[in-house]
Subunit: 204 residues, 2 copies
DNA sequence: GGTGTAAAGTTTACAATGTAAACATTGCAC
DNA sequence: GTGCAATGTTTACATTGTAAACTTTACACC
């Protein structure tokens, strides 16, 4: 992050690994998973087609790195939602859902890569960054319980319910199975989430 | 469907298209999406590597056909869940969720293919078979409303909520983000779904 | 019954891709 | 300074998707 100094026509790139991941993300957004090619990615980083092998064991490793980057972005996004509503746990939960969907709809191919194929892989690093995203939600749930907004009980399980619903909704929204009317995205997610929160509220 | 008669060493295969899809499904289960290759699929059907082109415009078309087959199986599975509990709409909803998860956990790569990449494709036939699956749930929701088990209101939206939750849960279950205790799958889904149903119940 | 045509399959060819191996360059530790 | 390890490059090759030209076969029609 601090070696952006070297750039012009040096034999060594400086931060090729990072550049390759970013090139991959760009391709992913523009043309889908199938368009990610080691050679194209190398080309975009202005490097020979075999150079990526100095940083990734194989194509799969690059894809995993791209997925990781996605989870890191997602974590930042979700955390931003939390910070937006200090001391309002209920709003935090709704905002997390909204930001999650925004991310998923803005980057559908990235989300697909993150949760399809890659997460099924047995990669510890990937699962760790994925868990970091999950923990943002989990913490918000815990705070909501402490604030008396959600009933006591297995917070991890409640967080899983919410994540499931929001993730599923995001996927459906990416297809044509869930057509909303003209409503705003924010109202849409929040409406759905509130149905669930009602079942999770205190003194139900 | 009725020309299973011709089989042994005839130049014409008889039902190659179908055989190719099945071969693809087998590969998908065994080795994941990346292992699906036109040539391997052709090989399994004992046919030359270019033969698939008489039935599919390109590899993408084969993948879509495989995804379609997945939705058809899913529809059958869900419908079986409904038939299991005639005149108990609430049990029908829970059973649909359970069967959905069973399918997704038994065939994770297939589910990934169906909802990733493929559904983002603009393919009308695929979206139709996907909608057929969705409609099984939608009908069950409608019946539950008529039976007074769910509150009146936008049934499509309620079905979307449930589908989202169950689908999301299935995806998480395929990763390591949602670790349940030793409990049965059935209890697990139903517990989650009941949280939601509570929010959707009449006179909430 | 013969035949000719379209559907279904095969062969050959080629470009794109992932990957291995051998070679080149360069920054940095000593 | 110099030598080595890290980082890139070149060359080579097997796999794959796909196009084109050719072959076989079922079946409609006379």
């Amino acid at each position: 992050m601090d070696n952006a100094a070297e750039s012009l026509t040096s034999y060594h790139h400086g931060d090729l690994r990072h550049a390759l991941v970013e090139a991959g993300v760009t391709l992913l957004q523009a043309e889908g998973i199938g368009a990610i090619t080691l050679r194209k990615v190398a080309g975009r980083a202005k490097v020979s087609h075999a150079a990526p092998y100095r940083h990734f064991a194989d194509k799969q490793a690059l894809l995993i790195a791209i997925a990781e980057q996605g989870f890191q972005k997602l974590t930042v996004t979700m955390q931003a939602a939390v910070n937006q509503y200090t001391d309002n746990p209920r709003q935090q939960l709704l905002a997390i859902g909204e930001h999650y969907m925004q991310f998923g709809i803005a980057h559908p191919a990235h989300l697909t890569l993150m949760f399809g194929e890659m997460l099924q892989q047995e990669d510890d690093v990937l699962h760790e960054v994925a868990r970091a995203s999950f923990d943002v939600l989990l913490n918000a749930v815990t705070r909501a319980q402490q604030a008396g907004i959600l009933k006591a009980g297995d917070s991890r399980q409640m967080a899983t319910s919410m994540w499931s619903m929001v993730h599923g909704l995001t996927v459906l929204k990416g297809s044509r199975l869930a057509e909303q009317g003209g409503g705003e995205l924010k109202e849409y997610v929040e409406g759905m989430l509130e149905q669930l929160l009602e079942g999770l509220a205190t003194s139900s």
